[in-house]
Amino acid sequence: MLVLTAVAPIPLAGTADREINVAAAADLSAALQEVAAIYEKRTGVVVKLSFGASGALTQQIQNGAPFDVFFSADMDYPRQLIAGGQADGSTLYRYAVGRLVLWVPKDSPLDVEHKGMDVLLDPSVKKLAIANPQHAPYGRAAAAALQHYGLYERVSDRLVLGENISQAAQFVESGNAQAGFVALAHAVAPAMQGKGKYWVVPVEAHPQLDQGVVLISRSVHQKDAAAFLGFVKTEEVAALLLRYGFTSPDLKYKPK
């Protein structure tokens, strides 16, 4: 408890309405909900989460969305905000490295676990879901991976674009697309357990998915937001993120 108070102040009397608003990339939805729940329980500060594509959230922050903290799925969007004066450059922190997986439903005849990318050439794959590369970092990684394996041209007419990585997952889960590129975080999330099988795309196939968090300059909850960011940097959170399919290069954790 002593260690904790160093990073997360114990709630004072009459602070029931303390809150911070967090914008976060869609791949974080399961992990960050758990982080927020733990933090709320310990500090009494309510963490309100809004998930979306990183590009979409960046655009909202640029237009004055009242967020205090922004978890991006890459480092470029936070840097854009810093360059534009909307975020505090000194707070930029790489909280995780994401992994991309090729995911198919459990009952799919595609042997994705052993054949990997090759299953995409199977004629039964009529639609392949990815996040929109225009504003979702995981979409860009998926496009890069397809190009890396020389498959992009061959599957481009079968691509369907999710507004963010969660929607890409939902297209496959609902049985409308036969395969999709999603975050490892989706594949291992409790809600998806046992629903599918996946193949982790090797790191060399796409630019590393460094994910950055930054504090928003306009925030009216600066102190609480900074304290929350302190909590995010603890090994406890790093271990939690690891459990949700992220790696944490700044700490000792390595993927299994």
Binding site: Q59, H135, L161, N176
Partner: protein
């Protein structure tokens, strides 16, 4: 390129197909709503009106699930054709028909109901079948309502967003409509392109609605210009 013309062509095509189909299925449905004496009719009326109040995400979500291989319909369709209806133009047509149904049926039914019942009785007395009465008396007297319904269905489909976002998959030339294109441009901070397309859509929809209201302004005189030469 500032304006995605392919998206515009696709959206207008979608709106035309949807309003044409809604005209065909809306006529009998509206006729039934206007003239049926069934005591549980209000259930059907509530069902038809539902898309007005339901968020498009609810509609889009259920359509997505219904078209997917997890639903009996989706499985049947996929075993028949080999592919899902989601992410196709036909899928958007289905979603849009549900989404715009009340915008066609309600004006149709309202104008059918306002037809003087004495005229129907007179037509029947003169030996006309109900079907003949419908096409010779009711429809000609309801033209303004029919035009309103078709145009509203058209315009409503033009502006559709949520359902398309949920079931479209953003495929250029097949499911990327103007509203999705605009959304993408805004998300990517391409405000110039977003603005060009948004403005064009705004002007287009305004023009369409102006024509409808302009036509409806003439409604008091409709009897003189609607009823053409008999037989």
């Amino acid at each position: 390129m500032l304006i995605d013309w392919q998206a515009f062509r696709l959206t207008i095509e979608l709106a035309m197909v949807v309003s044409a189909i809604l005209f065909v299925i809306g006529l009998p449905l509206a006729w039934w709503i206007a003239f049926s004496g069934w005591r549980w009719k209000f259930f059907v009326e509530a069902l038809v009106a539902l898309p007005i109040v339901l968020p498009p995400t609810v509609l889009g979500f259920y359509v997505l699930v219904a078209l997917g291989s997890r639903s009996p319909f989706g499985r049947w369709w996929q075993s028949l054709t080999g592919h899902t209806l989601a992410f196709t133009f036909a899928g958007l047509v289905i979603g849009s028909i549900l989404y715009s149904l009340p915008f066609a049926v309600q004006p149709f039914a309202a104008s059918f109901s306002s037809v003087d019942r004495k005229l129907l009785a007179a037509s029947a007395t003169l030996g006309a079948s109900p079907l003949r009465t419908f096409f010779r008396v009711v429809v000609p007297l309801s033209v303004p309502g029919l035009v309103t319904g078709v145009v509203l269905a058209f315009a409503h489909t033009m502006g559709e967003f949520g359902v398309v976002l949920m079931i479209g998959g953003n495929i250029p030339g097949a499911t990327r409509t103007v509203s999705i294109g605009i959304y993408d441009q805004v998300q990517a901070s391409n405000y110039a392109a977003a603005n060009a397309m948004a403005l064009l859509l705004l002007v287009f929809c305004f023009a369409v609605l102006t024509v409808v209201y302009g036509l409806n302004r003439r409604t008091p005189n409709q009897r003189t210009w609607m009823i053409g030469p008999a037989e």
